[in-house]
């Protein structure tokens, strides 16, 4: 299928923006100027100034000589790009592929988009009238190639639409600058009297190449469509996405739900056909007033289950503020992964960690309570109790080392060991009694000590001698002494856990 492009030219981009902000400037001639080599040079002139013969590149002093009451404002160098990117993002409602054409224009790839607006004519007119409504002077053209559309938007009729394959006829009568050439080439062509592209096309290619360089031929080929030209969209297009433009702005919650359901169905179909599952989805709602509302969900395993995804979104939908209405919904899946197709089982075993129901449950929980609260642990190769487990990265990660069984470990472990006072025979006997939270526990039986060295390459401190003890009531504790017995009082006893 042949591609179709729209180019939009903002003839007075910057001055339009200034007169939008200061309406009194609309009727008076004014220019934007920036200092250059010790003088003020005009960088943009508004239409009234333009009719007086003032154009960009002139010195302000010269312009004042033509029109003494000319208003001169300071130029903002970053303004052009900022405005173009803003406008490009706004244009995403027409097509996902919108690129900025440096200086003063936008390029849109509109292949397969126009029918949603009822044909190319209606599509282009809608675009022009709405941008005009913002207050910008705009010219646009639609053609098979960027080159042709660019030339026509600058030098052709307003809103010209070139039928597929007709670009060579369309550019015949345009002047050579319509090919986006360098200034020097333009001058030379004009001096030689080659005032129309028709004249250039009659000349042999080898001669053109010798006289004007490869660039001219390349630009000509691009306009005619023999060489392909690519654009870089302002917002990268996700491979998996669904769009839903609305005839009338949506303001109700029910409307948003219906839109989301439709988008999810489409996207999940797409994913299922390609055996992919999404890990992250973003719903973007483009509002009439130009703001974009977005909500995001994540899953812990690739899925294309529309119902499940809807449930995840359902919780976040109330945060969307429709304002005056949403005119475009866009559902993107930036993170996807391969999914094996689910085989039907003859009998269902009690599911393991791969169970779909479990994964969907975890997704719902993460969605409601937030990330970072669901943990799963695997053994780590450390003896130090606090470091003996590490958190698993995913639900399906397997342990690399075995869990240790050779030493007893308590069922409950205090996050921070609590200091206790003990009475213990020296040097290596377990305590006879200890006081914890004001209660004295007389120890009847004990196991130990188990010495655990602090790993000096990780942190510094004293080693611990652990004892597994049982008091007269049968309660079992995990105590340790930090450090050696000695004349100094550097050692201290702690309670670290409770055995079953």
């Amino acid at each position: 299928m042949a591609k179709r492009f729209v180019t939009i030219w903002f003839r007075y981009l910057k001055t339009d923006w200034f007169s939008l902000r200061q309406p009194h400037l609309k009727e008076v001639p004014f220019v934007l100027a920036a200092p250059d080599h010790g003088r003020l040079v005009i960088t943009a002139a508004n239409p009234p100034a333009h009719t007086q013969g003032i154009d960009k590149g002139m010195a302000v002093a010269d312009a004042r000589a033509i029109f003494p009451s000319l208003e001169v404002l300071d130029d903002q160098p970053e303004l052009t790009n900022k405005l173009l990117v803003k406008l490009a993002e706004w244009c995403i409602r027409y097509t996902p592929m919108v690129a900025v054409d440096p200086e003063d224009g936008l390029i849109l790839e509109v292949t397969g988009c126009a029918h949603l607006w009822g044909g190319e004519r209606a599509y282009l007119m809608d675009m022009i009238s709405r941008i005009k409504g913002f207050g910008y002077h705009v010219r646009a053209a639609l053609a098979d190639t960027i080159g042709t559309a660019w030339g026509l938007s600058r030098f052709g009729e307003q809103a010209s639409i070139i039928a597929p394959g007709q670009q060579s006829e369309a550019i015949l009568n345009l002047p050579p600058p319509a090919l986006r050439l360098e200034a020097a080439t333009n001058d030379r062509l004009q001096k030689l009297g080659l005032n129309q592209i028709r004249n250039i096309m009659n000349i042999q290619r080898s001669a053109l190449c010798r006289r004007f360089g490869q660039h001219l031929l390349q630009q000509l080929d691009r306009a005619l469509g023999t060489e392909e030209e690519r654009i870089e969209p302002v917002v990268p297009v996700e491979q998996f996405h669904e769009r839903l433009p609305c005839l009338e702005p949506i303001v109700t919650a029910k409307g948003i739900e219906i839109a989301l359901q439709r988008l999810l169905e489409g996207l999940c179909n797409q994913l299922e056909q390609q055996q992919k599952g999404l890990r992250q989805a973003i719903l973007k709602c483009f509002r009439i007033d130009g703001k974009v509302e977005q909500v995001e969900i994540g899953t812990n395993r690739g899925t294309y289950n529309a119902q499940h995804l809807f449930k995840l979104f359902e919780f976040k939908l109330p945060t969307i503020e429709p304002g005056l209405g949403i005119e475009l919904f866009l559902l993107e899946a930036p993170k996807i992964e391969d999914v094996a197709s689910i085989q039907e089982k003859l009998w269902e075993t009690v599911g393991g960690l791969e169970n779909t129901g479990l994964n969907e449950l975890i997704d719902r929980m993460v969605n409601r309570i937030g990330p970072g609260l669901i943990h799963r642990y695997l053994p780590a190769e450390h003896h130090w109790p606090e470091r003996s487990i590490r958190e698993a990265v995913s639900l399906t990660e397997e342990a690399v080392v075995d869990w240790r069984l050779d030493r007893p470990r308590p069922v409950q472990l205090l996050a921070q060991p609590e200091p206790i006072t003990v009475a213990a025979p020296v040097p290596d006997y377990p305590p006879m009694l200890f006081r914890y939270k004001g209660k004295i526990h007389k120890i009847k039986k004990a196991d130990g000590p188990e010495r655990i060295e602090r790993e000096w390459w990780l942190d510094e401190g004293l080693h611990r001698d652990y004892y597994h003890v049982e008091d007269e009531d049968g309660c079992r504790y995990w105590l340790f002494r930090s450090g050696h017995y000695g004349a100094d009082t550097s050692y201290q006893w702690f309670l670290h856990g409770f055995f079953a």
Partner: protein, 244 residues
């Protein structure tokens, strides 16, 4: 003749249970949790799966004992590749200890929440998910309505739920199928050997629906529960301090 009589009595007991509105869990497979004589307390003499059990704990030591006892119950439940959800606030359970009860700690998913209302929500969601073997929740208080919701959830999904109530402020009636209290008791010395020996608990079944409450002493020895006859416990030497 004698055998016939006992069969008839058993059948009649089952009929009475049905009349009382007792619905046995119909997961198809019967899992013996290995409780031995404790099983006699339950209707049909089987530990009720697909139900919610409530455990009362009044101290840190009892919570640890309850954790151990539940781990022991979970070990046969999780044998078939099952996964357990452990939902709590301020969790202190130390995963490596589960290995001593024959469970792979990696098959536990811990949900650590900040709010009690989230805990009860998470337990309910977990109990609705039939891909799980069991759900354990640590809570202080649970209202009758909430416990009823949990019971309705498990009736659908056949997941077994365990609620550990730490230092409950009031012991109101709940819809749970049973109410337990597990407290640690001194273990036996094994053949005069020094050291702590096996974990031993006093298991008290405070309430059980359609069953007979009672109290037993159980050991966790050699990877399974071992019933300790009451009188043997009484003879345990009173004063014997051993170190090793």
């Amino acid at each position: 003749m004698e055998a016939q009589k006992s069969d008839i009595i058993r059948q009649l007991q089952k009929d009475i249970l049905l009349l009382q509105g007792f619905k046995a869990c119909t997961t198809g497979t019967v899992v013996d949790v290995g409780l031995g004589p404790v099983n006699m307390a339950f209707p049909n003499e089987t530990f009720p799966l697909g139900a919610v059990h409530e455990f009362i704990s009044t101290s840190q030591e009892e919570t640890a004992a309850t954790g151990g006892f539940i781990s022991g119950l979970l070990s046969p439940l999780m044998r078939n590749n099952g996964v357990t959800l452990w939902i709590s606030r301020n969790r202190m359970l130390f995963p490596p200890s589960l290995k001593f009860f024959g469970i792979d700690p990696a098959r536990f998913i811990f949900v650590d929440l900040h709010k009690e209302s989230d805990v009860i929500w998470a337990i309910e969601e977990g109990l609705k998910c039939d891909g799980l073997a069991a759900v354990v929740g640590e809570l202080a208080d649970i209202s009758f309505t909430a416990s009823r919701r949990l019971q309705l959830a498990v009736e659908q999904s056949k997941v077994t739920g365990f609620i550990i109530r730490q230092q409950p402020r009031k012991l109101a009636v709940t819809a749970c199928v049973s109410q337990w209290k597990i407290s640690p008791v001194p273990g036996d010395a094994i053949e005069d050997l020094p050291g702590v020996g096996f974990a031993r608990w006093k298991v008290t079944l405070l309430k059980v629906r359609n069953g007979k409450p009672g109290s037993w002493e159980l050991d966790w020895a050699a990877g399974k529960f071992r019933h300790v006859p009451q009188k043997a416990a009484a003879i345990a030497p009173a004063e014997m301090r051993k170190t090793g």
